[in-house]
């Protein structure tokens, strides 16, 4: 299982499509930095098939005022949880 990180919003960059195309059926995706915007209810549909495998970094949501606006299906983790995700994954691939 691979952990993928994504630091771009789907409204601005289409790299999320590359990340999705490269993800295996058990892989996980963590939204960080400007990528956390994808956790908004109106944008989360871009990540359609990932329920239970889509994460967003709490610190980056909070800094942007988006923590209270996150879609229910997104699993919010803090930096400690980010490290835990990298422990559980065989490797981590960053998309930017």
């Amino acid at each position: 299982m691979i952990l993928h990180t994504l630091n771009r919003s789907p409204t601005e960059s289409r790299v999320y499509r590359q990340a999705l195309a490269a993800m295996g059926p058990d892989d996980r995706l963590l939204l960080i930095e400007d990528g956390v915007q994808g956790a908004l209810p109106s944008l989360v549909r871009h990540f359609g098939e990932l329920e239970g495998r889509l994460f967003a970094l709490r610190e980056d949501l909070e800094a942007r005022g988006l923590a209270g606006r996150c879609a229910a299906e997104v699993l919010v983790v803090d930096a400690d949880g980010f490290v835990a995700l990298t422990e559980e994954a065989d490797k981590t691939v960053s998309w930017f």
């Binding site: 930095e33 800094a63 942007r64």
Partner: protein
């Protein structure tokens, strides 16, 4: 929004298209606006695309203490920068309304965006 008021809105339009915290574009664009205003120039801000998230009310400092851009935004009025235009489509796309924002803004539809660019002698895009 009055179409006319955009067309007479000032010398300098600064377009802000980036989110806070992720990069320095937003801060550096705001710095350009404040400096221009400090030198007596009439400045209009236009928040487009991801830039509209710069105005979300609940933003905070970053986890390492990065102050972000909210303190700068709160200083705009002191610099007489009070024409804040936003791209209505960018708000809609993110499920945001003017009520979610820190500061009062004037939402614009695309033809008005083009009018705002045309009306300012200098346009800087960040």
């Amino acid at each position: 929004m009055q179409h006319d008021s955009v067309e007479t809105a000032g010398e300098l339009l600064i377009i802000l298209r980036h989110a806070p915290h992720g990069s320095s574009w937003l801060r550096e664009g705001l710095d350009a606006a404040l400096v221009a205003a400090a030198f007596g120039r009439q400045v209009t801000l236009l928040f487009c695309g991801e830039g509209v998230t710069a105005l979300v009310a609940e933003q905070t400092a970053g986890p390492l203490g990065q102050k972000g851009t909210q303190p700068t935004l709160e200083m705009l009025a002191m610099y007489d920068i009070d024409t804040l235009l936003v791209d209505q489509q960018a708000l809609d796309e993110r499920g945001l309304t003017a009520a979610d924002l820190l500061l009062p803004v004037r939402p614009l539809a695309p033809p008005q965006l083009a009018a705002a660019l045309a009306a300012h002698p200098l346009v800087l895009n960040f």
